[in-house]
Structure formats: structure tokens, C-alpha cells
């Protein structure tokens, strides 16, 4: 094993007692309970006679534990996670900002949490009011004309937005064949185009990592439905020629779709609707502070210009002449539904609470701080890491591992080593246009002190890459588990727990481990 010494003195990490924790099934024993149902106030029934052949007799290995054991199980598991609440989470493109707790509280208010999607409109004015106010705010923030809140995440928003474009072209008699996607784009963009029945045409970036205008002009034709453009791009740079890009598309009848994953760089400072975008999605789980929850849920509203309004998914929230709100299903040109009901409503509540907490001044300051933080990191680390594209950064900075790779230390290794210093890794190897990308997005939620800790850590890791590359290549060293064998996981997939056939302890059970370190 390598020498796990730090080159510098990490100022953030500590260790605390490790807790092993078996799978819930391994802790279970017959007859334990964590529930008691309310007394049945109607006559009991015999399931077998009511259901006949359809009755189930056994639930297999479902767990049986008491309440305290369940609390401990999940609490112990939680201590193995890193989280925004524990420190900076500089994952580029993911906008890991603070998730305000008041948002959680208001989303659980009874009249909100218990609202049934089919309850009468007269008893839904509050939930519809939330949707209306959020929609109005987001339309103002994006500078677009209208919006749907139905999509469940960013990729689902892309799907909805490209279907709007498709419906628009179809209404003109030809759905067109292809969608242009820059090589710097997120994987969901090409995958979405394919799900919408389009061919993907790859648009190469220019030397600055931006849209190559000449190349764009060459590629856009009457078969082009849209360009899916991330702005600021995935290298964190504003596409300065955005209006020219829009003009080139519009001249051929094609639309400009904007992936709004990076809106945290723009809110209150500029508006996509003003710079030529026809349709875009927002990620409420990035820009508008709804929690990522270990991978979801998200919410991906799609804002668009008037020309696309007839095609919005149904229903849409409308105001009746008497001032009450209603759901309008009478939308003959609608693309249909992309999701049942009205979207991830609980996320609307949180996003609106965030907007109210900020107001116009707070949102602008938020954007400015996010950009300030990214530029501060860039200024402090520019001499340490290679910067492939020199254009001014907005909310994130993407370095390359080029210098460290000469010693065999890759972006993924340095990301893992950052864990030893008490941080989550930055985004590794994305975007693909940057060799060995190290994509750092601090968000506005970091103090100068936390930024300095990260900067220190990355500088020290760069030194380690020179002086003791193996230390970095075998990181992390401070975690409960070390690097995991992902190859075997994929080659011999074990995707669920099964009891050992002879009733003996499972062969792969954890061996008690007293030496390992923990967060």
C-alpha cells in the first residue's frame, strides 16, 4: 500500500468512529415489527376468499425489524455519504448549492402535501396559485413568453422542448430530420434528440471551445429542426455570438433550443428570451435550489416563445374571467402529455420558496457571487493547472489534467484525492472537448474560507502529483471503502441481495473492520 501521508496539512478532514452496517435483509429476523395498524373499524375480510387465485401468500425476503433498528440502519448509512450540508460539492454542471430548509417545511404543509391531483378546481386554487406564480416568475427570469412545468427533470425538459420544435415544424408541413448538437454537449442532448426521432448532427467547437459560426452556417439547412445549445456552454463560457447563432438558424427556419442547466450564471444578469432563444429548459434542482436527494427528484420546466405556445403539453394553467385559476385541457395542437398530472409539484413549491427568499436583488447577487467564486478559483489555480480555453469564465471553470497526466496522474485520480481533503470531487472528464477535464462549479453557497480550503487542497494535490504520484493514483485513503472494482461490478452484475441457499451467513457479508477511517 502506498504512503498515505499528506504533502501539506489538510485543514478540513477529520476521522471519526467507523460503523459497519449490514444490508437490511441481513439484520432482519422473523417476528420483529416496526408498525402497528389502526384498529379496523369495518368487518374483517378473508383475502383468500375475496381474491381467489389472485391472492398472495408470501412476501419473500422483505425485512422484519423494530423501529430503533431501522433508525440506526439508515442513520449509519447516511454517515457514509458526502453532502452539501457537510461541505463544498464542486461538481461542475450540477450546481450543488445550498438547499434551504424552509423549502422543505412549506412543501410539507398539509394543504399542499395532501393535495390530490383530481380534487375539484374550486378546492385547488392554492396549488394552482403556486404553479401560476412560479410560472410567472420563471417567464420573467428567462425573458420567454410562456412555460410548462410538466417535465420531471432536465432531460425530460429537453424531450418536451424538442417535441415542441417538432410540432412547430410539423404544423408547417415538415418535421425536418436532424438536430445539431455541439461536441461539448451533455449526453442527454443527443439521447433526447434520438428519443424524439431526430438524427444527431455533431457540431464541432472552434479553438475557443465555442460554436464555430462558419461550421454552423455550413451545417444548417432546411432539414435542421433545431440547435441544442448550452449557454453558458459546458466550459462555463458565454456564447458571445449567440444572436448571430440564432439568426443563422432562423434564416433557415430552424429553432434555437437552449439547455438551461447553467442558468445559475445568468439569472438577473441576462435573459435567453432577449438573446434569441426559442425554447429552453430550466433545472429547478440546479438553479432554483431544490435538493438533489442522491440523484433526484428534479424538475425541468420548459419556457418558450409565443410561436410554440399552441403545442405546450396539456393541461395548462389558465386564469378564468372571474379571476379563478383552472386547468385547460382544450389544446388541439398540444404535443400531448409528457407526464401524468402536472409535474413534480413538490419541487415547484421549493423553487418558489427560493425565489421569494431571494427577490430580484437576491437572485442577482446570487448569480454574481456564483460567478465571483468561479473566477476566484480560476485566478488562484490558473498557474497550477492547465486551462485549455482562456475565455473569461462565468459560473464554472474547466481545467485540464494535462500537466499532471505527464506523471501519470489523471483528472479522476485528483478528484478522488480531493475526497481525502474533505471535499467531493469536481466533475471528472466532462466536457469531452477538454482533455482530462476537471470541471469546477463552486456555486454562490461557498464562503471565501471554504474556497481557500479547496484551493489549498488542489494545490497540494498538484504537488503530490509531482512528488508522490502513487499517493494520488490510489486515492482515496481516508474513506471507509477504498476504490471500488467497477469492472467486476459490470462484468458479473450482482443487482439484488439473495439469502445464501443453505441459510448460512451470506458469503459476501462485510467482515468487521476496526481499522478503517471514516468521515
Amino acid at each position: 500500500m502506498s504512503d498515505t501521508k499528506f504533502v501539506g496539512t489538510p485543514r478540513k478532514v477529520t476521522t471519526h468512529v467507523n460503523q459497519n452496517e449490514d444490508l437490511i435483509f441481513e439484520k432482519s429476523s422473523a417476528g420483529k415489527k416496526a408498525y402497528r395498524l389502526a384498529e379496523l373499524d369495518v368487518p374483517a375480510v378473508d383475502a383468500a376468499s375475496l381474491l381467489g387465485d389472485a391472492a398472495r401468500t408470501d412476501l419473500g425476503v422483505m425485512p422484519e425489524l423494530s423501529e430503533i433498528e431501522i433508525v440506526r440502519h439508515f442513520t449509519r448509512l447516511s454517515t457514509w455519504n458526502y453532502a452539501i450540508d457537510l461541505g463544498m460539492y464542486p461538481l461542475g454542471s450540477c450546481t450543488m448549492k445550498y438547499n434551504p430548509r424552509v423549502n422543505e417545511l412549506v412543501s410539507r404543509l398539509e394543504g399542499i402535501a395532501e393535495a390530490h391531483p383530481y380534487q375539484p378546481e374550486s378546492l385547488s386554487q392554492g396549488v394552482l396559485g403556486i404553479m401560476k406564480l412560479l410560472s410567472d416568475c420563471l417567464v420573467e427570469i428567462t425573458g420567454m413568453d410562456t412555460i410548462t412545468l410538466q417535465p420531471a427533470a432536465g432531460a425530460h425538459g429537453e424531450f418536451t422542448g424538442i417535441l415542441l420544435a417538432r410540432a412547430y415544424h410539423e404544423a408547417k408541413g415538415n418535421p425536418r430530420k436532424k438536430v445539431l448538437i455541439p461536441d461539448s454537449a451533455h449526453g442527454t442532448n443527443p439521447a433526447t434528440a434520438a428519443v424524439c426521432g431526430y438524427q444527431v448532427a455533431n457540431l464541432k467547437s472552434n479553438a475557443q471551445g465555442m460554436v464555430d459560426i462558419a461550421e454552423l452556417e455550413r451545417m444548417v439547412d432546411e432539414d435542421t429542426a433545431a440547435l441544442m445549445l448550452t449557454n453558458p456552454s459546458t466550459i462555463g463560457v458565454f456564447e458571445s455570438e449567440i444572436h448571430k447563432i440564432a439568426d443563422i438558424l432562423h434564416a433557415k427556419g430552424a429553432l434555437l433550443y437552449m439547455d438551461g442547466a447553467n442558468m445559475n450564471a445568468l439569472v438577473g444578469k441576462t435573459r435567453p428570451g432577449d438573446f434569441g432563444v426559442d425554447v429552453m429548459h430550466l433545472n429547478l434542482h440546479k438553479t432554483f435550489s431544490t435538493p438533489h436527494g442522491g440523484g433526484g427528484p428534479g424538475s425541468g420546466p420548459v419556457a418558450c416563445k409565443k410561436i410554440l405556445e399552441p403545442f405546450l403539453p396539456k393541461p395548462v394553467v389558465v386564469t378564468r374571467p372571474d379571476g379563478t385559476l383552472a386547468l385547460d385541457y382544450d389544446r388541439p395542437q398540444s404535443i400531448g402529455r409528457v407526464r401524468m398530472f402536472y409535474g413534480n409539484f413538490g419541487m415547484f413549491v421549493r423553487a418558489l420558496a427560493y425565489i421569494l427568499a431571494n427577490g430580484p436583488d437576491g437572485l442577482r447577487q446570487t448569480t454574481e457571487d456564483a460567478v465571483l467564486n468561479a473566477n476566484y478559483i480560476r485566478a488562484k489555480l490558473e498557474d497550477t493547472f492547465d486551462l485549455q480555453y482562456k475565455t473569461r469564465s462565468l459560473h464554472e471553470v474547466v481545467f485540464s489534467d494535462r500537466r499532471q497526466a505527464k506523471n501519470g496522474v489523471k483528472t479522476g485520480d485528483m478528484g478522488k484525492r480531493l475526497i481525502d481533503y474533505g471535499f467531493h470531487a469536481y466533475t471528472v472528464s466532462f466536457p469531452m472537448v477538454v482533455q482530462g477535464a476537471m470541471m469546477i462549479e463552486p456555486t454562490e453557497s461557498e464562503s471565501r474560507e471554504e474556497l481557500d480550503l479547496l484551493i489549498d487542497a488542489l494545490k497540494q494535490i498538484a504537488r503530490e502529483a509531482e512528488e508522490n504520484p502513487e499517493l494520488v493514483q490510489t486515492a482515496p485513503h481516508a474513506t471507509r471503502l477504498r476504490r471500488l472494482d467497477e469492472t467486476t461490478a459490470a462484468r458479473k452484475p450482482v443487482l439484488r441481495w439473495k439469502p445464501a441457499p443453505n441459510g448460512a451467513a451470506d458469503s459476501s457479508a462485510l467482515t468487521p473492520d476496526t481499522a478503517a477511517k471514516e468521515w
Binding site: 412549506v106 457571487d369 467531493h424
Partner: protein
């Protein structure tokens, strides 16, 4: 602004370190004509107490204090306190997708437990770590069946939730998947003869729901036989997951698309919920969504990772099995806690209570109107013809603080204007059922 951890002096010093005179210099790449100079026209900054007041106002404009008989794909069940205890922990709430497994074992192990429980409950061999919801899950399952079989059509039972069918239609249209509908028989179940006739050589799959939209439990084995005989896959959509506590799992299916909202997730005006796809192991490489697998670390200790990502968009781009990225992980965590609290015995008892309440409700209301579709077993929903226009009946019930069943005419005009879909769960009381019956007399 209270979420921003910076003093004015910090900002000035940082600008100086960067070497710019003002913050606007950092935005200089945005052409001047697109720089937004005014304040956004949105509500002013609110204090925390004002935010809570504002949302209380919204909440009070909604139905509270009503007895509700609504189900139809969103079910009101008791949600054990432990669910919020667990998902309110910042370590779960504020973490990202577990791309760095060494510091995400909490989420990963819980997802592995989730996948195991979903397999156990549905009778399938593998499950993913969640989809957006039951409706998009059903659409993705159909696209998956098309890839697996190399055929391109789908037959969908008319008894699948109408909004699921609408979502499926949106997806299918652009994949050029022709959809054919199979009707229902007098029992409320899929009409097997019609189903048989609807399947041809080009049918990739049959999609049914069980318990179906009318609450009726389908004969999954018989439907599977018909589908399989013609080389089509069977996809079973389950919108009421609690039914799995007492209803035989659809083990004859090839793919199950489950909506797990009933496992401890608030109705929340329709979301966020928790879809999940489970299937036979042989279809693994065509399955959409994230999957957690077991492995070992460098020292041989057991751990969990996201695996088989070569199916996914960040590797395969336009050739991916789906464009899904963000899923519903925290909601899947909620369902995992729910299933752990109720466990092997509790889930069954709970399901039986639901059966009992629905039987009492159907018997009681059946004395006033006519319960339809009596020829097959049902779970906790039933269709009733109350002899009067269902919308008018509901309007009258509201005065007694009762929200009646869902009128069905907008989706099933053939049932007439009087038919509505009623649901009783373990939370529905005898007193509420009696009060509804009294009001309907």
C-alpha cells in the same frame, strides 16, 4: 441575502485578487445589448416567516378537512414518521447522484436494498434505481420491449390509467411505434379475445395495468400466455403498489413498471413520485435508468457502485437506452424506509385493511347505486353508477365536506355520465363511508 456566505469586504477583496475592478467586468462576455439592467419583476425578498405565511395562505385555499374518496393513480396512505426522519438528513437530502462511490455508500446501499425489495415484491429478477414516475416508466418499458424484440407495435389495454396511455402515446408517436387498444369485458378485465385479435407479428409488447384503472385485478397469467404465444412481451404496470402486499405478483410478466407512490409518498398534487422498472435478467442491457450493483473495494470489502452505465446517455449519447439522467432517488429512499417499517408482515396486513375498507365501501354504497364490474376480484377501488350525473353528485357531496369518486365520463364515455371511480384505503374511516352513503341517499 441570508443564503450567501459573504461580507461586502470579502467580495471587494476577491475582485481585487481576480484583478478586476467590478463585478460587471466578470460579465463582460455578455454583449452589452443583452445585459439585463433592471430588477426582475418578481416578488420582493421575503423573510422566512413571510415565506411560511405565504405558503400557509396557498395551503388554506386547497381542500383540507375533507373526507376524500379519490384514488385513480394517487393514493392516500399513512406515512410513517421515520420516512421524514431519514430523508430530512442532509447526508441523503443534499447529496448528488453517487458518482463517487467511496463517499456515497449510504445512498448506494439503500438503492441496492430498494432494488432487492422491488424484485421481491414484483416477482422480477432485476430492478433499476427509479424512473420519473409510472407513466413515463410505462412508456420507457414499451421502448425497451421494441428494442428487445425487434418488432415495433404495442397493444395497450383500455383499462390502463388514461393519463399513462396519453404519456405512452406521446413517446410512441416519435418512435414510430403503432399503438392498438384492447378493450375490457363485462368483468372489467381485459377482453382476452379482443386482446388476442389485436396482437400480430409486429407486436413487440402488450401493456396492461393490474389492479387496473377500475380497481380490478387482471388475470396476468392468462394474458401472458396470449402475448407469449405470439412472441410479444408482457408489460404489467402497477399504479397501486400496496396491492402487492396481498395480490399475487405478476411473475409471468417480462417487464413490470411500478409507480411506488403508495409506499409512503405524499399525494403532493401529483408529484414527485417514484417510477421503477423491473424485468427479467435477460433484458438487463436494454433496461433504462441507473442501476446499483454490488462489488468489492481494493481491500476486498463489500461496497456498491452505479453499474452498467454503458447503457446510459453520458456514455452512449444518441445510442443510449434512454435519455434519463436525474431520476427520483430520494423518493425511492422514502419507499425503502416505508417498506422496511411495514416489512414482510405489515405490508400484507396493510393491504388486507385496504381490501376490507373497500369492501365495506362498495357494499355500503352498492345499496344506493350499482357497483359495476362484479365478475372479477378487485383491490381497493370500484366503479359505481349512482343513478345521477356523477359531477352533480360530487358537487352536492362537497357541501358535506366529502370529495366523491372520480367521474369517468371524460375518459370512458361508454360508461355514461353517472359512473365514478371510488377508492377506500386504510385511512378511510367507517364514519366517512357511512356519511357518504347518508349524503347520497
Amino acid at each position: 441575502m441570508r443564503y450567501l456566505p459573504k461580507s461586502p469586504a470579502d467580495r471587494e477583496e476577491m475582485l481585487a485578487e481576480i484583478g478586476v475592478a467590478s463585478i460587471d467586468d466578470l460579465f463582460s462576455t455578455i454583449p452589452a445589448e443583452y445585459q439585463f439592467k433592471r430588477d426582475l419583476a418578481i416578488p420582493r425578498q421575503h423573510g422566512e416567516s413571510e415565506i411560511i405565511d405565504r405558503f400557509r395562505e396557498f395551503a388554506n385555499q386547497n381542500a383540507t378537512g375533507y373526507a376524500s374518496f379519490l384514488g385513480a393513480g394517487v393514493y392516500r396512505h399513512y406515512r410513517p414518521v421515520l420516512i421524514d426522519t431519514v430523508v430530512s438528513r442532509g447526508e441523503f437530502l443534499t447529496s448528488y447522484t453517487p458518482y463517487q462511490p467511496e463517499i456515497a455508500q449510504g445512498t448506494l446501499q439503500a438503492m441496492f436494498e430498494f432494488q432487492t425489495m422491488i424484485c421481491e415484491l414484483t416477482g422480477m429478477e432485476i430492478a433499476n434505481a427509479s424512473m420519473y414516475d409510472g407513466s413515463t416508466g410505462a412508456a420507457e418499458a414499451i421502448m425497451m420491449a421494441v428494442r428487445v424484440t425487434g418488432r415495433d407495435g404495442a397493444v395497450i389495454a383500455r383499462t390502463v390509467h388514461p393519463e399513462y396511455r396519453e404519456v405512452v402515446a406521446t413517446y410512441a408517436q416519435h418512435q414510430e411505434i403503432p399503438l392498438v387498444e384492447a378493450g375490457y369485458s363485462e368483468s372489467g378485465r381485459v377482453d382476452l379475445a379482443a386482446l388476442d385479435a389485436a396482437i400480430d407479428d409486429n407486436t413487440a409488447c402488450v401493456l396492461i395495468q393490474s389492479p387496473n384503472f377500475f380497481g380490478t385485478i387482471e388475470d396476468v397469467a392468462a394474458i401472458a400466455e396470449i402475448a407469449h404465444k405470439k412472441g410479444a412481451l408482457l408489460i404489467v404496470s402497477i399504479a397501486e403498489a400496496i396491492s402487492l402486499g396481498i395480490v399475487r405478483p405478476p411473475a409471468e410478466a417480462d417487464i413490470v413498471s411500478l409507480e411506488a407512490q403508495s409506499f409512503g409518498v405524499a399525494p403532493s398534487y401529483g408529484g414527485p413520485f417514484c417510477g421503477v422498472i423491473a424485468c427479467k435478467e435477460k433484458f438487463l442491457r436494454q433496461m433504462p435508468g441507473r442501476i446499483v450493483g454490488e462489488t468489492k473495494d481494493m481491500d476486498g470489502k463489500r461496497g456498491f457502485v452505479l453499474t452498467l452505465s454503458t447503457r446510459e446517455q453520458h456514455i452512449r449519447r444518441e445510442k443510449a437506452t434512454s435519455n434519463i439522467c436525474t431520476n427520483q432517488a430520494l423518493v425511492a429512499m422514502m419507499t425503502t424506509v416505508f417498506l422496511t417499517v411495514y416489512g414482510k408482515e405489515g405490508l400484507k396486513e396493510l393491504a388486507v385493511h385496504n381490501l376490507a375498507k373497500a369492501k365495506y365501501a362498495a357494499d355500503t354504497l352498492g345499496g344506493i347505486g350499482k357497483v359495476l364490474f362484479n365478475g372479477a376480484p378487485r383491490f381497493h377501488e370500484f366503479v359505481i353508477d349512482l343513478g345521477k350525473d356523477a359531477e352533480a353528485v360530487n358537487t352536492a357531496l362537497l357541501e358535506r365536506k366529502i370529495i366523491g369518486g372520480l367521474p369517468l365520463a371524460r375518459w370512458y364515455p361508454e360508461l355514461g355520465a353517472n359512473a365514478s371511480l371510488w377508492c377506500a384505503t386504510e385511512l378511510t374511516t367507517k364514519a366517512q363511508i357511512d356519511a357518504a352513503a347518508e349524503a347520497l341517499k
